[in-house]
Symmetry: C2
DNA sequence: TATCTGTTAATTGTCAACATTTCAAATAAA
DNA sequence: TTTATTTGAAATGTTGACAATTAACAGATA
């Protein structure tokens, strides 16, 4: 099988995005075209394009002519979660409306895996992975392309913020019954219940973030 | 006073965006770097950057190596309004929380102008303009940068869709009392009432869009 | 000492040339 | 007629060179 390499500007985009997630470049740090071009061993052209894209995504910030790594504040994190809190329940509601048999099987299977992972007291990373798959599935079955696009953008930032701001935040205990409630509602195509269950789910997330935020600002005094 | 010209890629970005809004390029039409470069009298470099940005915004769509003007479906319009319906009320709620005296004055002044415009049976365009200012003000006073960024993206698409899909749709009668309810709630810093009032406001919009959508799909049968 | 002013190094902005890929029309084969 | 294949024009991908701008610093001046 013959595969063709992706264009450099696409690869650069993915590379830099990943590097940002992994904190290879630090918040507030200046990124230069020359520097990145040298690092990746390509010319500045494709780098520029990648940087424009990241800029549009909000992961890079333009100050005058220079480009810096986005340096989110705690306020930004709260602001973002506030948006997430509105859109995730919508996704759940729509998923309950549009999910098909195959989707229901997938969803049940993920719930099963989460349940097992909790029983086995698996690693945080593994549970996070399942959680992501869970959200992805629901989003996909919302069948709302606009919502999907928005959430992808939002998620890119959430991932970034988690790795920068919220490094120390304890992943909260997994409440299996929250997942169960959401899944059952979707399986029964009960839109309103799915929406409410998801709402409750993300509300707890926001609550924990708020507490963390207050603790941090307290310490800063 | 000396002003400095913006970089070409910024100007190109704005130019193309505006051209899309104004239907200078038609949905589904292919846009080529060479064509745009010739049209604007600059080289392909800055054009590429502008196109990457528009791409990220969702106004241009990549199919393989080629770039086409986004060709939204009616489903896309509904999908987008569904998102809008969730975020606008959030903006109103937050505005009710964060608005200051100056903001209250601005808001009252806009309401006044809308009221006069309705009394005078002013042109649709004028009322639309006030409506935009109204939404902008509320968004700004939400003091949520993430929300603002999201809504800007969403709005760029809404504007585009209005000019393409919804050309024929009649702008609905302006219900002044809807505006009044929202404004009064915000002036009194009543978050929940502001949220609900805005919710009701956008629900009507979605309802009308839905009816239009059904009519169109009916005709297609 | 503080502010102004050149000077310089680093960075971004822009272009034109060249390489590669892609699509589709034209031609050949079944 | 249909199906492959060829071929070439048009488009994108990539680069290196050069221009313009910016930021920082050192020295001059008050």
């Amino acid at each position: 099988m013959i595969i063709k390499a992706e264009p450099y500007h696409i690869q650069a985009y993915k590379y830099i995005q990943r590097a940002l997630w992994e904190k290879k470049y630090h918040p507030g740090e200046q990124l230069t075209e020359v520097g990145l071009a040298n690092e990746l061993g390509i010319s500045r052209g494709p780098i520029r394009e990648a940087m424009r894209m990241l800029n549009q995504d909000g992961l890079l910030v333009q100050k005058g002519t220079r480009t810096f790594v986005y340096n989110p504040t705690y306020q930004d994190a709260l602001d973002l979660y506030l948006c997430k809190e509105r859109l995730e329940p919508l996704a759940a509601k729509l998923a309950a409306r549009h999910i098909d048999e195959e989707g229901k099987n997938e969803l049940s299977s993920i719930l099963q895996k989460i349940s097992e992972a909790v029983d086995n007291e698996s690693s945080i990373d593994e549970i996070t992975e399942y959680n992501t798959a869970f959200n992805d599935l629901i989003l996909r079955y919302s069948k709302n392309d606009q919502l999907i696009q928005m959430m992808n953008l939002l998620r890119a930032k959430v991932i970034y913020m988690r790795s920068t701001l919220l490094g120390e935040i304890k992943r909260r205990e997994v409440f299996l019954n929250e997942y169960e409630e959401i899944v059952h509602a979707i399986l029964e195509n009960d839109e309103d219940r799915a929406e409410q269950a998801m709402q409750k789910h993300v509300e707890v997330d926001l609550e924990i973030l708020n507490q963390y935020f207050e603790k941090v600002t307290e310490e800063e005094k």
